[in-house]
Subunit: 231 residues, 2 copies
């Protein structure tokens, strides 16, 4: 998915020309399609970084195309900007239901389109704020902010400690062996004594204070997070 390639879908040649010209001037590579099936095919094959899709298309409705793009794993991740005639039914298109990233109503200024495209691309590059915030008892960790709190108190963790805690919490009570943790936190091909894990577990526990007790040693196996049941 090269974010520099943009697929523009519209049946009107004038609009294709206008948008192509302006997007190219702004430094993008432009692909075009004139109907739904063509759009889907090109999106799958060329993996553009963004799609601009007219809601009014011959042959297949724009919302239908959008649905199919979002249903296909090869294209689901590509942000889509819809072109709509009037600001009608926009709620249904943008956001959860159909999953377009933004919409622009016709008539539009080419400059506006370029701005929107840039804005959407930027938003997509940002670390996902919707990245899951993990909570266990009083511990909350927010990966996008790289922040850990224990009952409202922020705890400073080093990168290693942070990843370690994240993996443990994500495992949700399953035991993780030292070797597995090495793979997950240190990377698959690193040569470090498994005992290193112990040291970091120790540091983690001590930084977490009383919450450190949630990390349980399973003798001979590894570490796990205590689930609420086993008090």
């Amino acid at each position: 998915m090269e974010s520099n390639k943009i697929l523009v879908v519209d049946d009107e040649t004038d609009i294709l020309t206008l948008l192509s010209y302006n997007l190219k001037k702004a430094g993008f590579d432009v692909l075009t399609a004139k109907d739904g099936p063509e759009a889907i095919e090109i999106a799958r094959a060329r993996q553009p970084g963004l799609v601009i899709l007219d809601i009014m298309l011959p042959n297949m409705d724009g919302t239908e195309v959008l649905k199919q793009l979002k249903a296909d794993t090869k294209t689901a991740g590509i942000p889509v900007i819809m072109l709509t005639a009037k600001g009608e039914e926009v709620d249904r298109i943008v956001g959860f239901e159909l999953g377009a990233e933004d919409y622009i109503t016709k008539p539009f200024s080419p400059r506006e389109v370029v701005l929107r495209v840039k804005a959407v691309l930027k938003r997509f590059k940002l670390p996902r704020s919707d990245e899951r915030i993990i909570t266990y008892r009083d511990i909350t960790i927010d990966p996008s902010k790289h922040r850990v709190t224990v009952r409202k108190d922020t705890i400073d963790l080093t990168p290693t400690e942070f990843k370690l805690l994240k993996e443990l919490l994500e495992a949700g009570g399953r035991v993780l062996s030292r070797d597995l943790l090495l793979d997950m936190v240190w990377g698959q091909d690193c040569y470090v004594t498994p005992r290193t894990v112990d040291t970091h577990i120790r540091r983690l526990r001590s930084k977490l204070g009383y919450a450190g007790r949630y990390i349980e040693t399973v003798r001979g196996v590894g570490y796990r997070i205590k689930t609420e049941e086993d008090q």
Copy 2:
């Protein structure tokens, strides 16, 4: 400026209750104020995404409150919907002269209010985030004027510093890696040492004075703006 928070200003408890109930049901967080000074204070402190303001208030006239909100850089960017008794003098309120975004005449149906709120928010949210005034604590940045103020003091920033600060503020507490910042500020295909970011962060911090501390180093990861929660 969280667009989910809505400040309702009215001296009649009944109306506050009615609007609170309906807005909360629609998924908004509601703040309330019973007079002008209180409204201004809350708007500055809590940064709601929208204000609903009765034109008839004891103590200070609603239009006066509106004027003050629009004059303060910390609140100028917040859209305001006025509640008016009859459709009188509306031209003066809405639009250029006083700068409200919309008005609703009493009596109104709660449903109508919620719809208007959503409409205004949508209008405000989607168009160019580039031009929006961003405020964080004492820092206000106005992209359209390329101006940054820290508690009323204007700070001179170079273009790079400005963009850097803007991206950090817009990320709202999320950590931005050096590479990502290079993409966002320097452009997607530039070959600059990531360490360059450090230097500019340093310059930024020093120009911002005490506010420079809001920029937090996340060792091994990147930089982020301290959110109010993590004291």
